[in-house]
Symmetry: C2
Subunit: 341 residues, 2 copies
Amino acid sequence: MATIGDVARVAGVSRSTASNVLSGKKVTSPEIQVRVLAAVEQLGYTPNAGARALATSQTMVIGLLAQFLPDEFAPAMLQYILGVSNTARELGYDILLVSEADGARALKRITDSRMVDGVVLLNVADQDDRLEVLRAASQPGALIGLPGDPRDLDVFDLDFAEAGRLMVDHLVRLGHRELLLVSQPEHVVERGGAYVWRLQDAALEEAELRGVRLRTASAAAQQPQVGRDITAILDAHPDVTGLLVHNEAAAAALPSALHVRGLSSPADLSVIGRYSDEFARTFSLPFSSIESAPDRLGQLAVRQLVRRIESRTGLPEPHGVRFISPELVDRGSTGAPRPGR
Amino acid sequence: MATIGDVARVAGVSRSTASNVLSGKKVTSPEIQVRVLAAVEQLGYTPNAGARALATSQTMVIGLLAQFLPDEFAPAMLQYILGVSNTARELGYDILLVSEADGARALKRITDSRMVDGVVLLNVADQDDRLEVLRAASQPGALIGLPGDPRDLDVFDLDFAEAGRLMVDHLVRLGHRELLLVSQPEHVVERGGAYVWRLQDAALEEAELRGVRLRTASAAAQQPQVGRDITAILDAHPDVTGLLVHNEAAAAALPSALHVRGLSSPADLSVIGRYSDEFARTFSLPFSSIESAPDRLGQLAVRQLVRRIESRTGLPEPHGVRFISPELVDRGSTGAPRPGR
DNA sequence: CTGAAAGCGCTTACAG
DNA sequence: CTGAAAGCGCTTACAG
């Protein structure tokens, strides 16, 4: 493989001059530029990433910490990964994908060894043991998901509280007074899936404020259990006219559960979920939903991360939590409650 | 950040000795080992990956070339990524995930710059422009998916021809004589999705051999079009009693399409698909299927790749194509054809 | 068994 | 505007 020394020799200049031409950081004469570029072309020269990283302390790689937990819904995660990956590439960074079970250890490994210039953490829990490692690391990080203590961290997340209020508001306006919220399985909550209770608490508060009843239930996040859960939940609440689904797997299982029960939406039941449009398309979900915008969150997180990476010496921009506002995508699954129910 | 020089100083030895203790490649005295290890501990030393890569020409990173084509089904791809990623980590490698649209250029970039020790190519097409780059690269590669010309390449794939024969055989044994194969959309075939015709050709041949009729159709790979396609296909072939589904999106859309038509499986129609068990669970697909074993393929590909990476100087093991045998997972969606049809 | 030295391929002050 | 030199943090013959 050609080195910059080869390029310099072929071009008849010194290595520093060749380097300067390629980086463009110093003014060089046009004729020398031509000679160097011709040599690069002729030799098929590409800089060695390791050597460059050693010299510049920049790897142009971003670590992406994903977690595929057995009780979470993998396809939903993919969208975040793609959002992060695409934005990173646009900004000139490659992605080191880390999906080990022990995220804290993995994070320590890739930051301590300086394999990455920064990291994006997915699926952040309320108490997340990766945060301690991140705070101790010398590279910056961006989180997708709000932890209990977001101090000194760049956090991006959907405004789940607002989403909960929005779901309730939408159904109350249509005349519903008996609502049911189906959430993630208990483990997700116990593990610190704060988004679950952020949405739920706000929804409950809004329901009380509006004088309607909102009950809650949780369903599994995997087939076939979630199908049984959904059916049981529907059976247990015959008086409910408005269903809020905060569980991707449950949303995916709902069409057939409704079918089996001979129910249709919105005629018998108004349904509103919380997932991405892409997800709705993949699973052909006919329900209106709060867009969770994984691609936008990934993009925001990476942009902020790169800004921080590239201004290491510059202004110490304050850290902060940025929520994106929920938007309701109407797919026609909500309407006035059926008089009979 | 502590360097090996710091470790050496604290331990009171030379840098080479510190390095030798850590690599274990040379015999060192126990007392010196203790001192070096203590220094490592005290300083929280982790080797700098870039420096090590420069010195050893090994990055311990594997490039994973994925493609998310708009007309392919993203969740199916995720399983391969996880299979590759998990196996790589077990063997001590990290994953550089590359999902750019221009795969050839991306491949050239990461191999030329020596960011990776080897690469795994996903979603390999019959004529794949990444192969030329791979053959020119100095790192080894492993493919998942059989290209038209697999010369000098390590290839892993499901035996799609055998899968086609198996599907036909299974239904013919049950007494079916009118079969229909639903394949991927035309673009996938045109783009060189050889697996589509490998399965189809073998299925047609087997059907002829067994004296039954097998017709073919293709459906879109995305909602909502695939739902419409499936319905139209069912309507157009009322006499069919056995359905072979070689299209993940179509399989996912089939339950509701059957429901709408008032058909059930296997009573009205015997159905057999080709997807992974994990996929079946995610989409709660009730159909028997040929297991596509993405995790096993990923594992085989990475193991072989690592073997090649780590025996660069050693024996030149011959390249080759390795098919994994299809296995039928019975989910009870096939039976004798209904007499009436 | 240990250490001094060279080298991996780049970049970057610095002198001219 | 160009080049000689030093340095980034490792590893690895080589001499002792």
